[in-house]
């Protein structure tokens, strides 16, 4: 998938959870990605984060630490 599209999708998810009350928004973004993103997509996401994570919102980046590395 095009990097911009992947970044866009991650940020869309973060945009929803950033509006939610509580303090666990990053966990919930990561949980959503873990539940719905196929390993290839998570791989691409994490690789992009390692490369600096250009374009990712603050919450997306924070969630990255909790996204499961595919086996």
């Amino acid at each position: 998938m095009k990097t911009e599209k992947m970044v866009y999708m991650a940020n869309q998810i973060a945009t929803f959870f950033v509006s939610q009350p509580g303090t666990d928004q990053a966990d919930r973004v990561a949980a959503h990605i873990n539940d719905f993103w196929e390993p290839r997509m998570r791989e691409q996401f994490l690789t992009h984060v390692t490369a600096g994570g250009e374009g990712l919102s603050e919450l997306s980046l924070k969630a990255a630490a909790l996204v499961r590395q595919p086996a």
């Binding site: 998938m1 999708m9 869309q12 945009t15 009350p21 539940d35 196929e38 390993p39 595919p70």
Partner: protein, 962 residues
């Protein structure tokens, strides 16, 4: 007293509708004591006791009318001979249905009718199926003593002059004829059109001898009138006046099989009336619990595609998509497909192939296709077209209530005090439900419609919405949140309900969020384009009318914030205590016939059957034991992800059953690129659909008439589909999937779909007690059906939500990035129309094309004028994704700035225009909002021409080798 328990399947006409009263009344009819509910007519009471009173103008799906006087009876202590259809029972009443006096009256009535009726019974299409004939027999009419001078049926009078009372047959409707010469003016058709269908297309014009049934105004035919060809009048007509053309051509049927419509999510039950293995007609089944004896034009008439010459009946293969197709044996096709798919896995990895299940196929077939990927391919790459329609429903209702399904049955609408319709156009998309809803609205229930277009629900004959909120496409969340703002800040909540049923802390956080003035109708008015006062008024109506029900459709889900809107809708119902009672609830109107079922059956890549995440080891274990395999704990690819991965080169093979993703999915060019990048695309369908242009293997499919199975409709009702004829292609779809699985080494041994249902029941708690035997006994069952709910579940969340406490979740509005600007100043939204279905592959192959032979663009007069576009002009429709051409129609149904079209015809390729934006939670594409420009045009775009050429080339089939 007579024992009159009605055996399942008895569909006698009892003359007048059932009374809903719980009080009973006992009376005596012809010497038998009969006990019936208060309010029952003498006619119905008598029929229930097994004594049929002759009748012509009465029918038990219509209110009694009392015009023919054939049903007269004598009642002790009463003068005269009252009509039994209009006389309610009273306690102790003593009725005689066959006195000399009434017999004489009835004979007289029949004599009058027959004297003005042609006596060509032997050659009449309704011979043997005519109530006039039956009644002549029932009253013992033997001769007609006088010959009428003036008749309606003689084209010329005795002196050879043409008879002004004679009217020619109206053949304009493709499916039925109206022959005025045979009409007895009982007005059943007129009443059926009003009461059952709610279209009001028919009237009785003139008086006395001059009275005639007429469709529309004086110069109209059935086709040019408002008639929507639902067939209710044909069903109601006691004579051959309104008659199916198929019966005229083929003769009367000799047997019938109960089955389920394969078009929309209403899931109407039908009697497939057969002669040998030929289908003569489909008639709505009166004990069908979704439709209660009604139907629409698609289910009733548009089944001709099943025998259309375009159907492909032999398997075909080719190595590359630029080659013509080669017909081969089933065995060769299977080994070709299996070798290719296994080869791809060896070369590109286990996860390089996947499946798309169909929302048109049966539950059993869908279950097998997802099993194929999970158990045979060894990955979770399964998705379904529900991705592109109702996946946000799954997410939104799952998060708030704990289960992904509508809360009510369709009968619930009969008790609704207020219906809120958002993003749905039921008169076109879910016609039978619309008829039931309109009936309730005519009885006085309130109606709120939230839709960018002025749909027929907003205003049509005898229906007018109390509130229409014509919002700008893409602002659903803003409107729904504003409604909640009004409900919370004006103190219209049901606080007890929220305290008992919902998470109170979450409510407090939600209430604080939603009370913020930035969510008020006034604050969002500029955004949504809806006057704040109207939003306030609608919110008050919804919250205070009594039992309020929400019905929503794809106009809610197909947005970047589709899931958020579903959550917002669920919130509204919780705030006002409208979940868990009859007449209320939250109801997604599902598009295709088995969208609900395909979701239930584990079509989604992250969920095993019954909506259980693949990450849960305990759930995997159930299936691992049953299937003797290891199940991948990682979610698989969704359709858009599959296409992306294909373009990236990591996804190479696809088995696509009964779906046409090239036509139905957004951003056609991207879909085409993804398909073109795959090395093995297997299409399993009735026709060479658009996706098949990119396929290497074509497996012929079977129609719903040719197989056994079940569909699950929008009210979670599991209905049986029954085989009425042998599959023309040789195999039912579940058999084809099994052959493919076995060619890949699966070793499956199903011999009947009931065994697949048993496997579903054994592995899926909400289906635990479902079996074909139970379905045979009950007719249909609404899941969950298990030890806790042995009779199934018409109404969900009664004592508590499935997930425990309901959750009110904050719904922040986020504008879509699909924005209008100088290049693309208009917003395009898409939808469907009554006579066509989805991508149109079926309905385009029936006479339904007389109502819609092409997709047209609706544009507001103002927008048309500034662009120099006139009615019927060819226009170019362009977005940042692509462009296409189609004809324009000018209408103020759409607001200025908004244009609208359907997507039923492949030549239009409306999805060339739609973009790849999608719902944040589920990737459901944003079909309902695309920024576009419209300009005059001379003809098809280059893309359309290239596409047509590619399609024609790829559909070539080599003549079979001698």
């Amino acid at each position: 007293m007579k024992d009159f328990i009605i055996p399942w399947g008895d569909d006698r006409d009892l003359g007048t509708p059932a009374s809903k009263s719980t009080k009973s009344v006992t009376l005596n009819i012809d010497g038998f004591d009969v006990t019936v509910p208060e309010g029952t007519s003498v006619m119905r009471a008598s029929a229930l006791a097994g004594i049929d009173i002759p009748k012509l103008c009465a029918s038990d799906n219509l209110e009694a009318f009392g015009s023919c006087r054939l049903c007269v009876v004598e009642i002790e202590g009463r003068r005269g001979t009252p009509a039994s259809c209009t006389t309610p029972v009273t306690p102790g009443m003593v009725v005689h249905t066959q006195s000399k006096k009434v017999q004489k009256i009835r004979k007289g009535v029949m004599e009058l009718y027959i004297s003005d009726h042609p006596l060509d019974c032997l050659t009449c299409a309704a011979n043997g199926d005519c109530e006039l004939q039956d009644m002549a027999g029932a009253v013992g009419l033997r001769d007609v003593r006088y010959e009428a001078v003036d008749t309606h049926f003689k084209a010329k009078n005795t002196s050879g002059e043409s008879n002004p009372q004679w009217l020619p047959k109206d053949d304009s409707n493709p499916y039925f004829t109206y022959d005025p010469a045979k009409c007895i003016v009982c007005s059943r058709c007129v009443r059926a059109c009003e009461e059952v269908q709610g279209t009001f297309a028919l009237t009785i014009s003139g008086r006395g001898f001059d009275s005639r049934v007429s469709a529309g105004s004086l110069n109209d035919t059935f086709l040019s009138s408002d008639c929507v060809s639902c067939g209710a009048c044909v069903q109601a007509c006691p004579t051959a006046t309104l008659q199916e053309k198929s019966v005229i051509e083929m003769g009367t049927p000799t047997r019938s099989v109960i089955t389920t419509c394969a078009y929309c999510g209403v899931g109407c039950s039908f009697k497939a009336e057969m002669r040998g293995d030929e289908l003569v007609r489909m008639t709505p089944y009166k004990h069908g619990k979704a439709n209660r004896g009604h139907s629409c034009v698609k289910g009733r008439f548009a089944y001709g595609y099943a025998t259309h010459q375009d159907r492909i009946l032999n398997p075909m293969i080719r190595d590359t998509i630029d080659q013509p197709w080669r017909e081969v044996s089933w065995a060769e096709a299977m080994s070709f497909a299996a070798t290719k798919m296994r080869g791809l896995q060896e070369k590109y990895g286990q996860k390089s192939i996947g499946v798309i299940t169909s929302s048109r196929c049966t539950n059993e077939e869908t279950f097998l296709v997802q099993k194929l990927t999970r158990a045979v391919f060894g990955n979770n790459n399964t998705d379904t077209c529900a991705r592109v329609c109702h996946s946000p429903t799954g997410y939104g209702l799952g998060q708030t209530y704990g289960t992904s399904a509508g809360t009510q049955d369709f009968d619930s609408v009969e008790e609704t005090d207020c219906a809120l319709i958002i993003g749905a156009n039921p008169t076109d998309g879910h016609p039978v439900f619309a008829s039931r809803l309109k009936k309730r609205i005519r009885q006085g229930a309130k109606l709120i419609v939230i839709d960018p277009r002025r749909t027929d629900m907003v205003k049509s004959n005898h229906i007018q919405a109390d509130h229409h909120l014509p919002l700008r496409p893409g602002t659903n969340v803003a409107i729904v949140t504003a409604l909640a703002h009004v409900i919370v800040t004006e103190g219209l909540i049901d606080a007890d309900y929220i305290r008992n049923r919902c998470d109170w802390d979450e409510y407090l956080a939600y209430a604080e969020f939603v009370s913020d003035p930035r969510h008020s109708p006034e604050a969002v008015e500029l955004l949504t384009g809806v006057p704040a006062a109207d939003v306030r008024a609608a919110a008050r109506t919804y919250a205070t009318a009594g039992k309020s029900a929400i019905y929503y459709g794809l106009g809610v889900t197909e947005h970047s914030q589709g899931s958020t809107t579903v959550i917002g809708i669920a919130n509204l119902a919780m705030l006002t205590g409208n979940v868990g009672i009859n007449g209320a609830g939250v109801n997604p109107l599902r598009g295709q016939n088995n969208v609900q079922g395909s979701c239930d059956m584990g079509s989604f890549p992250h969920e095993l059957p019954g909506y259980r995440h693949v990450k849960n080891a305990d759930v995997r274990e159930i299936f691992e034991k049953a299937w003797n395999v290891t199940i991948d704990p990682e979610p698989g690819l969704r359709i858009p992800n599959m296409l992306d991965a294909a373009v990236d080169g990591t996804f190479k093979g696809l088995y696509c059953q009964g779906e046409d993703i090239l036509q139905s999915d957004p951003d056609t060019k991207h879909v085409a690129a993804g398909l073109a990048a795959m090395e093995c695309v297997i299409v399993h369908d009735l026709f060479l659909n658009e996706t098949a242009n990119y396929a290497h293997v074509f497996l012929p499919g079977s129609s719903f008439l040719e197989k056994d199975g079940t569909f699950t409709n929008a009210e979670r009702r599991i209905n049986r589909v029954r085989k009425v004829m042998a599959p023309k292609n040789g195999y039912a779809d579940w058999e084809v999937t099994q052959m493919l699985a076995n060619a890949m080494g699966a070793g499956w041994t199903y011999t009947h779909p009931s065994q697949i249902m048993d496997e579903i029941a054994a592995t899926t708690p909400s289906f635990a007690n479902v079996s074909y035997d139970l379905l045979e006994e009950r007719g249909s069952i609404q899941w969950p059906c298990n030890d806790a709910n042995p009779d199934g579940t018409p109404l969900m969340h009664v004592d508590g939500f499935v997930r425990g406490k309901g959750r009110l979740i904050v719904t922040e509005y986020v504008a879509t990035d699909e924005k209008t600007g100088p290049r693309f100043p208009l917003l395009l939204t898409t939808g469907r129309i009554l006579s066509q279905y989805n991508v149109g592959a079926q309905t385009r192959r029936t006479a339904n094309v007389v109502w819609h032979d092409q997709d047209v663009l609706e544009i507001h007069p103002h927008d048309a004028e500034v662009r120099g576009v006139k009615e019927g002009d060819f226009v170019k429709l362009a977005s940042r994704s692509g462009e296409t051409t189609l004809r324009a129609t000018i209408t103020d149904r759409v607001s200025p700035g908004v244009v609208y079209t359907t997507f039923h015809h492949p030549d239009t390729q409306a999805n060339v225009i739609t973009t790849d934006f999608s719902d944040w939670a589920t990737n459901c594409p944003e079909y309902k909002v695309t920024a576009v420009q419209v300009s005059p045009s001379n003809g098809p775009t280059d893309w359309q021409e290239d596409y047509a050429a590619q399609a024609a080339a790829s559909r070539r089939i080599l003549p079979a080798a001698e």
